[in-house]
């Protein structure tokens, strides 16, 4: 499989090509200008704001889905329980304000409902509020596999386990993931390069460097911070280089597009490879960490 052949395009000013329009549009509410303006502009029969409890926001909008559970399975199963989703339903999701494990679980859920093609939108920020020192998440409550995204074959021999971390700004998350799988020797880090903005790469490096003693030696790989397909390809290349893997762990700790790439790789491969997606959970995410909107990407995920 070559994941880089999938469709992607970018748009200025939120003027997204919606084709003939969507049946369903979902967007995570994070109180950022970049998500609100897209929500208004998108052509869809039904539009739903998803209010994740992690942001602690009160949403004064119509069509808001709210649920108290922090757990991705409980939250999203409840979301889709009264929405008619058929294999032919045309769905678009703005992932900009999504919570990462929820995004991955959501995609797997849609896949189980027979969806083979979904459009995802992501708006790039101009900068983060406090550069590399921006706080994105609160205290980690737990490190575990994302629900429904574990492996079908858990190998008791862990000698050649591989962990691939899409490593972003949140060095604390990276440190916690590395600690939780501290016995895995083979760790790869996919850095977002080219980054969303020219200075974000070095900010990323500073954060990683800072956590280096908790992380261990870093073998870096690169995929653009805005490209799910090249990210999936980077994962695929790493795994091809390590044919003797015992278990594979993927961890999405960077941008949402890279998270999408991890979901994509998982869905194409989990039947034949022992892949797990692991995540350091926090019940708190800070809204309004991003400023400005550079451009909006549209990615079409094609699923097996």
């Amino acid at each position: 499989m070559d994941y880089t052949i999938f469709y992607k395009s970018s748009f200025e000013n939120g003027d997204i090509d919606c084709g003939t329009g969507y049946d369903l549009f979902f967007s995570g509410y994070d109180d950022c200008e970049r998500t609100k303006s897209i929500f208004d502009k998108i052509k869809s029969t039904r539009k739903i704001w998803i209010n994740f409890p992690h942001y602690g926001l009160t949403v004064n909008e119509d069509n808001v889905f709210t649920h108290q559970s922090y757990k991705e399975d409980e939250f999203l199963i409840s979301l889709v329980s009264d929405i008619d989703i058929q294999p032919a339903t045309k769905i678009c999701v703005d992932i900009t304000g999504f919570i990462r494990p929820h995004l991955i679980f959501f995609i797997k859920l849609l896949h189980l409902k027979g969806i083979k093609k979904v459009d995802f939108l992501y708006s790039e920020p101009i900068h983060y509020s406090n550069a590399e020192d921006t706080t994105f998440s609160g205290f980690i409550s737990d490190v575990r596999l994302i629900e429904g995204c574990g492996s079908l074959i858990n190998n008791p021999n862990t000698d050649n386990d591989i962990m691939i971390i899409a490593a972003g700004y949140d060095d604390n998350l990276i440190a916690k993931i590395s600690q939780s799988k501290s016995k895995i020797k083979n760790k790869y880090y996919i850095l977002g390069f080219p980054s969303l903005q020219a200075d974000m790469y070095q900010e990323n490096i500073l954060k990683l460097y800072h956590a280096k003693e908790s992380i261990g030696e870093i073998v870096p790989r690169y995929a653009p911070a805005f490209d799910p397909f090249v990210t999936a390809q980077a994962i695929s290349d790493i795994i091809d280089e390590n044919p003797n893997y015992s278990n594979i762990y993927l961890s999405p700790l960077s941008t949402k597009p890279q998270t999408l790439g991890i979901a994509l790789y998982y869905l194409w491969n989990f039947v034949t490879k022992p892949i797990n997606i692991i995540f350091p959970y926090s019940n708190k995410y800070y809204p309004k960490t991003a400023h400005g909107i550079k451009k909006t990407w549209k990615y079409t995920l094609e699923l097996p």
Binding site: K71, D73, I77, F105, K108, L109, L112, F139, I140, S141, D142, V143, R144, L145, E147, G148, G150, S151, L152, I153, N154, P156, N157, T158, D161, N172, A175, K176, Q179, S180, K181, S182, K183, I184, K185, I205, L208, Y209, A211, K212, E213, S214, G216, E217, I218, V219, P220, N247, N276
Partner: protein, 693 residues
């Protein structure tokens, strides 16, 4: 990219070692002449062990050292020698590999999870066992009949054994267990969406623990070379399990059957229950033996120092040997230790002087400001005008050659006497006006200058370190007090990884600053040492594996505690010197506060003195703690176990019990008032119990 520089100390974790390196980098630890890790763990006995230790204490290194792959290396792959000499097989497994948190939630209740976990666990652990057996069978060249006999005996454990007739080999058996596990894996995965487990797929096919104890028993009975050979299941990362999963492991340990025993490796914070499934607790000493590595190492400073010495010399030796340089170990070690630039207070002082070339020192400016405020508040004795303040300052500066440290001594005594003028007790030296105070100070000071005994001797002897810390903080200068290998051993407080990490960082910083630290005749600057110590402290602070609300509370408590301790050091009139320890009366404190203190203890943020402290009047034992020395540099706090502060009930609650954290600020401000001019004049209750030990 972020790969390591060429550095003898680059590896700080056993995980990064290969099996061969585990053997090569093994440094035995001898708490007593005839006692070593070998004799403590003693694989020759059946007594199960719980090996407990904080991060970086060497636990994984030790456990892997006793595992089958290392046994093979030790006997150059001669497995019959492993069996006949070692008389045990160490089967090392990482419990986290189970991804045990999968066995939870998904709309399924705990009892279902518990039975499916126990079943899965056994299949999982036996995979490693069967692979080892397969390897041993091949090495021993066992005949086909014995092999089949073994396979068939194992299959007989299964309820549906009649349906398993076609399994004729060890590989077939391994594959059969694989299929059973696979079904469970897939049921767990689907349950996230279906919210149920399909029982047909995960039906339990043998009685609990029949495989885990049964298989070793079968081998022992049919393969003569296994007679008297123990199977030690070495299960690392016990801390990663849920409480109910730990109880299950405890139950296995409790129920163990010959020829099987267990070694359980756990981080201290995760060693939370001794209970078995029946609710009974296992007894340390009779039913299992607890091996607390941190305590063993910390029990004797001298032995730890020797151990640390062996550790770094062995690393250096390997490093230079890899470059074809062979040196006598003692010379190597001495040469290395001599590279470290020694801390020099004069150097810090000159830096501060240079920074203030054209202006008044901050502490003098502060004194001026405080006197001016005091005049307004009518607390400055006879002083009335700014001109008089200038005169006071001139008197303080007199004879000091504008040396900031000397000025500190004098201002300290000034603050002390000023305070006493208003609030001193009868027994203390009390002067009632500024002129007398300043005259007294300058008389005493000239005694110091003339080498005669006087008030300043004591001040200089006991408080110099604190004043240097104050000066560095006020002037934004690094306090480079921690230098040299011996100091790093002390800072690491019994933790080999912390020690190696400081050295690693020292080499890193020194290299990047162009000091060529590993070459002959070079010097490792104080700056490099400071940065290394600081970075290690920061790492230790951030690396605590503590989660959720508990973690949040722990960090909040640490913040309050260090703020309180800083207050004692960075003030005008410190009561005691170099405070880094505190004690509490346990019976005064809430369970919540004690729990957080315990949490800080298991994460080695606080180190408890096992001897405690006897209450002066009560005779009741009080609990005595010190902030882990490695953390102290983050806040410029002292590391000497000298000054101790008593945290009264309410203050301790405001620090350690989140319910009362709102009270902290007022306690803090009250204490601040007591310790600083001119507020100390009107503050009450300075005479808190503060003692030296």
């Amino acid at each position: 990219m972020i790969n390591e520089l060429d550095n003898p100390f680059s590896v700080t974790k056993a995980t990064e070692f290969s099996d061969i390196e585990i053997k090569e980098y093994w440094v035995n630890f001898n708490p007593k002449e005839d006692v070593s890790i070998d004799t403590i763990l003693n694989p020759n006995e059946y007594m199960p062990k719980y090996i407990i230790g904080g991060k970086g204490c060497g636990k994984t290194h030790i456990l892997r050292y006793f595992s089958f792959p290392l046994q093979k290396i030790k006997y150059s792959n001669d497995i019959s020698l492993v069996l006949s000499n070692d008389k045990y097989i160490g089967l090392y497994s990482i419990l986290n590999g189970l991804n045990s948190s999968r066995f939870d939630g998904k709309g399924i209740d705990e009892s279902q999870w518990s039975s499916i976990f126990e079943y899965y666990f056994e299949l999982y652990i036996c995979d490693k066992l069967l692979h080892a057996i397969k390897e041993i069978f091949t090495a021993l060249q066992l005949n086909a009949v014995t092999k089949i006999q073994f396979v068939k005996s194992v299959l007989a454990i299964f309820r549906n054994y009649k349906a398993l007739d076609d399994i004729m080999s060890l590989d077939g058996l391994i594959e059969f267990l694989f299929d059973l596990r696979n079904k469970i894996d897939s049921e767990i995965l689907n349950a996230a969406f279906t919210r149920k487990l399909n029982y047909e797929e995960v039906k339990i096919l043998f009685s609990p623990s029949d495989l885990i104890f049964g298989i070793p028993n079968i081998i022992a009975s049919i393969v003569p070379s296994f007679s008297g050979v123990k199977f030690i299941y070495i299960l690392d990362e016990y801390e990663k399990l849920f409480e109910w999963q730990k109880k299950f492991i405890n139950t296995l340990v409790w129920d163990k059957k010959t020829p099987v025993t267990f070694w359980i490796g756990a981080r201290r914070y995760g060693y939370t229950t001794r209970e078995t499934k029946s609710g009974e607790s296992m007894k340390n000493g009779s039913e299992f033996q607890e091996v607390n590595l941190d305590e063993i190492i910390r029990s004797n400073d001298d032995i730890y120092r020797k151990f640390a010495h062996k550790l770094y010399t062995s690393r250096l030796d390997k490093y230079y040997l890899s470059k074809n340089i062979r040196t006598d170990l003692e010379i190597l070690s001495k040469r290395f230790c001599d590279k470290f630039e020694k801390n020099n207070d004069d150097k810090i002082i000159s830096e501060i002087i240079a920074k203030n070339k054209n202006k008044e020192f901050k502490h003098i400016k502060e004194l001026r400001k405080k006197l001016e405020t005091a005049i307004r508040e009518k607390q400055a004795l006879e002083l009335k005008s700014n001109e008089q303040v200038d005169e006071v300052i001139n008197q303080i500066k007199f004879n000091t050659d504008n040396n900031p440290l000397e000025l500190k001594y004098k201002t300290f005594l000034f603050y002390q006497l000023w305070y006493r003028a208003y609030r001193g007790s009868q027994s203390e030296k009390k002067l009632s006006n500024m002129i007398d105070i300043l005259n007294f100070i300058n008389e005493e000071y000239s005694k110091l200058k003339n080498g005669e005994k006087g008030s300043f001797d004591d001040i200089r002897e006991k408080r110099k370190k604190d004043f240097i810390a104050q000066l560095t903080k006020e002037n934004n200068v690094k306090n480079t007090e921690h230098s040299g290998v011996d100091r790093f051993v002390e800072l690491s407080q019994g933790n080999p990884r912390t020690f190696i990490l400081i050295l690693k960082k020292v080499i890193e910083y020194s290299k990047i600053r162009g000091e060529r630290p590993l070459e002959d005749g070079s010097t490792i600057s104080l700056d490099s040492q400071y940065m290394a110590v600081y970075d290690t402290a920061k790492w230790f602070y951030e690396d605590a594996e503590v989660f959720d609300i508990k973690g949040k509370h722990m960090y909040a408590s640490l913040k309050y505690l260090t703020e309180y301790l800083m207050l004692e050091r960075f003030c005008d009139k410190p009561v005691d010197t170099t405070i880094s320890c505190f004690y509490i009366k346990e019976e005064d404190q809430s369970e919540k506060a004690i729990n957080i203190i315990e949490l800080m203890k298991v994460h080695s943020v606080l180190i408890e003195d096992p001897n405690g402290r006897l209450g002066k009047n009560s005779g009741i034992k009080e609990r005595l703690f010190q902030l882990n020395k490695v953390l102290a540099p983050l806040w410029n706090l002292p590391i000497a176990e000298r000054g101790t502060i008593y945290l009264k009930k309410d203050i301790a609650e405001s620090i350690f019990n989140s319910e009362y954290s709102n009270d902290f600020e007022s306690f803090y401000n009250k204490r601040k008032g007591q310790l600083n001019a001119p507020d100390f004049i009107k503050s009450k209750g300075l005479n808190e119990e503060i003692t030296l030990f």
